[in-house]
Symmetry: none
DNA sequence: AATGAATGAGTTTTCATTCAT
DNA sequence: CATGAATGAAAACTCATTCAT
């Protein structure tokens, strides 16, 4: 059982692509420019991904899997619903804070999926849909434990959107990051949930 | 004081463009296809807008102004902060529910602005920034009235993102629209705010 | 009922393309070079033909239709099978002599159809098949009149191939063209047919 | 005097290439695909042939030499011109029937030579020209024996083209192969030749 | 000798924009 | 003003060939 070099190289490309988009934005993106940035030939990408779109889809899916990993690893160690909810708030905010390029990709994915709604007609659309589902399902279970009875699915969705999009605030106001933002948001959400029991 | 035909035609184009994007998505968008859809020649657009991007920026700005108009018209009639907050929740959700095409445009604007952060370097970026500011400022004032002291700007932003993005839920789950979603969200937010006093 | 400018322009492009291939061969062919040769922009071709392959298919079909027109126009005026056969021999040889570029295209079509056998799976393949059929059917009727009973379809095919490919001889031996080649071939074929009655 | 391994490998590659083209057609041909089909690495080909075109030229020349071998071996045993002519008709038709892939290559060679006329400017063009000449010269001698006086070169060429291209009929009509086609063609040609004495 | 990842020149194709009518 | 054919820059993609291992 040797090392999967193919996989390693794929991931190296995905990482560099993420980095490029993060630095220069999607408006600057082209296979040519990416090749120059990566210091490889254009054709090389096509040895690993069958088209530009496939490469971009993979970057998104790769990033999205990293978010989930971060989230679930900690969640598994926790029991109390309050702690689990706090973990989600904190981890999500932290993760996007450290990976702002993903935010851009997330946003752009909307365009690539050719619609804000991840289309169920293609594999990538289904991947994004499924990811959304696994995260909101997790939140749903937690708020269930907290005693929320009605509109659990909607509220889970609303909370998730809030966390994911909150990071835009840091992008717009780079100087205003504080340690206890996650805690404030957590208290805000927890109190809100109380009102829905 | 005659009729401003120029302006009328511009608005007719903006409306049709919004409609086209709403129906076919940005993935299908091209000046050619838009021309066919509008029943005019491609060149005509260039008599009213200096480029494709300007046209699209104008569509967004036109739509965004409609959101604000709806919001502020009702807000001016109200006094109590709870009522004003409820108006924002209700109006925003309702508006996007009725104008899902704007949601798509909003999303795509991210791409056009070539960055999720409305760039302060161009007029459109400034317009979007300013719009965001006027809405969050309004929310900030209201939650101030409600007694919130700390992190008012951030919380206003978080609430606004939640309302704007909540509509995605309807897009993903078309069958699940209910009358009292706005009320539930309002109660959730109001209770949350209490915790931050 | 005005002039069909679209059609006229299409035909002008087809003629020029034929000319280019005739002059420079398929090995030199590219949309770029063709554009330069025609004195128009690359993009122009795509306003009239949806892809490079469609353009090439159209050139062949256009040429092939010219062959048929030449053949059938005269055939309709004739009654005696000997006269009709002579017309086919003479017209085919003459036509290819005057339109050697078509010969090259005919040959290349083999490659484009991705097989020497015109594939029944695509429209172009069907067009070529049908053309082959209409010509050999015509020959078949004539040799029937001449009293041939057996293997009429095969013999018609063999005669047609001989006529179409005979022109290669002129290409290989440019100096050896003579007036009475058609007559000699006609006598050769006619006598051969006698033996198959 | 050891075994020429180099030559053995070259021939193994040529055989496999012929086979590949026969199975999948030139449209599917690429060095990559051929490598997979042969179970060797792309680079290997370049140890034996200096380019893709050289490889393909060699395949054609290899095949063409097999045709000639078949033809001449039997011819040497025969004396009567009728028998010799029948041998050519029969052997050519049989050979192409058994080696349809060559037909495809022959056809494609036209493209590679970048002209239907085998170009005298390169070695391959000269090879094809010479092959054509040795076959038509043989036919010319035979029809001379049969008493044909005029246009012997042209008639030889016409007969050869007819035999080579007759196989296309079998490709187009796979079900219609018969034992006595060669005989019918032979009688057709023989009778035709009588008329040219 | 064999390998196959990397290469990059060369192609096809798209589409916003212009401009003569 | 409206038109839409023509434009051509820019982008995606292919594949024969090379070369380090």
């Amino acid at each position: 059982m040797g090392i999967n070099f193919e996989q390693l190289k794929k991931e190296a490309i995905l990482k560099k692509t993420k980095e490029f988009i993060s630095k220069h934005g999607m408006g600057e993106f082209s296979m040519e420019k990416l090749a120059t940035y990566c210091g490889v030939a254009k054709g090389t990408f096509y040895n690993y991904f069958k088209s530009k779109n496939e490469l971009l889809y993979c970057v998104i899916e790769y990033s999205v899997d990293r978010v989930w990993e971060n989230l679930i690893k900690e969640d598994r160690k926790l029991k109390k619903p309050e702690e689990r909810l706090f973990n989600i708030v904190k981890t999500t905010i932290e993760f996007f804070k450290k990976n702002r390029d993903i935010l851009l990709l997330y946003a752009h994915e909307i365009k690539m999926a050719e619609c804000i709604i991840p289309s169920p007609e293609n594999e990538h659309g289904r991947f994004i849909s499924n990811h959304l589902k696994r995260v909101t399902d997790l939140i749903e279970k937690i708020i269930s434990q907290l005693g929320v009875k009605r509109k659990k699915q909607k509220i889970s969705f609303a909370i998730h959107e809030q966390l994911v999009n909150f990071n835009k605030f840091y992008l717009l106001n780079p100087e205003s990051e504080e340690e206890d933002d996650a805690e404030a948001l957590f208290r805000f959400i927890l109190a809100g949930l109380e009102a829905l029991k």
